[in-house]
């Protein structure tokens, strides 16, 4: 298994949000977690990435057999986990290029790989930015500062492409995108599909799944996976709502 989550319980501010979530994702597959607001979808993403304040009270999560919960957030990234944020953070004063290069080399260092030279790095980033329709000029600007919602999401995809993770958790990556941006972002995700990679889409709507076809859909209600099926489940959800499925 790529990612294996077993009976995961997570509390935020003393309130239990994830209540025994179990999920196993194989390499080479694409999954979508769907669920109503407040089901705990974003909590799952933050917990996997190791954000402060998301307290695991019970359960396990492993990435390629490695205990994910024992690692610091940056170590999880080096181990191959990538979390795409619903609201990418703005960092004034730190340029996109410096940010991404520092991140890439930090990961490589932790994995015992050699640093990427400045020239190779630039070539790589420019190529990925071009593929994803991000103006190369924006790479020189501070991280996400003054970016539109769509530009921020494209920037997330550029980061993902450059860092080349094996397990991608994308939290509401489709939110706030117009149809053109959605197409570009979907291309970015599809380009990452590979036999040795796993993608987990966290989404509220069926819309993204028209562009990125998942192998499996998991329905999450009140901190648990209540149903798993193939992509036809998304249409069922769209038709009948979460209430009927959860019941």
């Amino acid at each position: 298994m790529m990612l294996k989550i077993d009976n995961l319980h997570v509390a935020v501010d003393g309130k239990e949000i994830l209540k025994g979530l179990t999920l196993a994702l194989a390499p080479g597959t694409v999954h979508a977690i769907m669920g109503p607001n407040g089901a705990g979808k974003s909590t799952l993403g933050y917990t996997l990435a190791g954000r402060d304040g998301y307290d695991v009270t019970a359960g396990t999560a492993t990435l390629g057999g490695q205990d994910l919960l024992a690692l610091a957030p940056h170590e999880r990234a080096a181990a191959g986990l990538f979390l795409g944020l619903q609201y990418p953070v703005e960092i004034p004063g730190v340029s996109n290029l410096a940010f991404l290069r520092t991140a890439l080399n930090a990961q490589r260092k932790l994995r015992g790989e050699a640093e990427v030279s400045a020239g190779d790095f630039l070539k790589l980033v420019r190529a990925k930015a071009k593929e994803l329709g991000l103006d190369p000029e924006m790479l020189k600007r501070p991280v996400n500062v003054g970016f539109s919602g769509g530009e921020k999401k494209r920037n997330e995809m550029v980061q993902m492409a450059v860092l080349d993770p094996k397990m991608m958790v994308l939290d509401e990556t489709d939110s706030g995108l117009d149809i053109d941006a959605l197409r570009v972002v979907s291309q970015g995700i599809n380009a990452m599909r590979a036999p040795d990679k796993t993608i987990l889409l966290i989404t509220h709507y069926q819309r993204l799944l028209d562009y990125v076809e998942p192998d499996f859909i998991h329905v999450m209600v009140d901190g648990r996976i209540v149903k798993t099926g193939d992509k036809s489940l998304a249409l069922e959800l769209e038709r009948e709502g979460y209430g009927a499925i959860a019941a």
């Binding site: 990435a49 610091a72 960092i91 410096a98 940010f99 520092t102």
Partner: protein, 308 residues
Amino acid sequence: MTMATSLPGRRDEAWRYSDLKALERAHALPANDAIAEAVTLADGETRRLGLAPDDSQRATLTLEVPAGVSATLVESLGGGGWLDRAVTVRLGAGARLTHVILQTAGAEAVVTAAYTAALAADARYQVHLGNVGGALGRVAMDVTLATGADFTLGGVLLGNAGQTVELVSRVVHAEPGATSQQTVRSVLAGKATANYLGKILVAPGAQKTDAAQSSKALLLARTASANTKPELEIHADDVKCAHGATVGELDAQALFYMATRGIDPAEARALLTQAFLGDVLDAIADEALREEVSALAIGRLRVLVGGA
């Protein structure tokens, strides 16, 4: 009056947050004879001056930049004793001075540096300050602006362990149409304290004054503190004066975001704190000087971040 004869007290407003104990200790050091220098800079000249006493040293400088002359002064203040520096700067009409002050004294040292500058009409005075050394590192600037003169102050204050680093400025807009911008960034670790007392005074009749102050302090440790007093005294109505001040810690969201991309916490803190100084460092126009000041600031920052 030199400080050797009478030490300031807590009731002196300009010293209200200072480390008076460090000053008292310095006062007990054996004193060398005072040094007095007078320098006139020529057009295009870059002058370097350095002082690093291990005893108590009073050193005064009278600096002249004649009308129309454009020059640079780089001053390094250091040592392990007490450096009591007093500089009088006179800028003639239309003169330009870029003045770098790097204070890097030893951990036990005290530096008290006082600058009094008078700018004639349309003169331009740019100060780039790195105030990072000493048990007490204090820089005071008293700048008076004539018609159309411009004063820019970019200050980086970095403190670690029990350091007190402070900047006390008073910018007097004596005549109409002068401009001033002060940008101060402080980063504190350990039990360090940074103080910025900055006053803008707009004299009666000094219309069309444009004066701004921006002060931001970043606390990296629970035991660090920052005191800020951005003060305005305005006696004319057609003016633009503003100040902004913030105190806080590193943005937890940004730290997490960086971690999800694989950047370790120490590296993330270093990047964010460097970015925090960007407003001051990036404003240094001359590339060589920018590199010099940045290298000092970033090197010191690494120590702070590591120690936090």
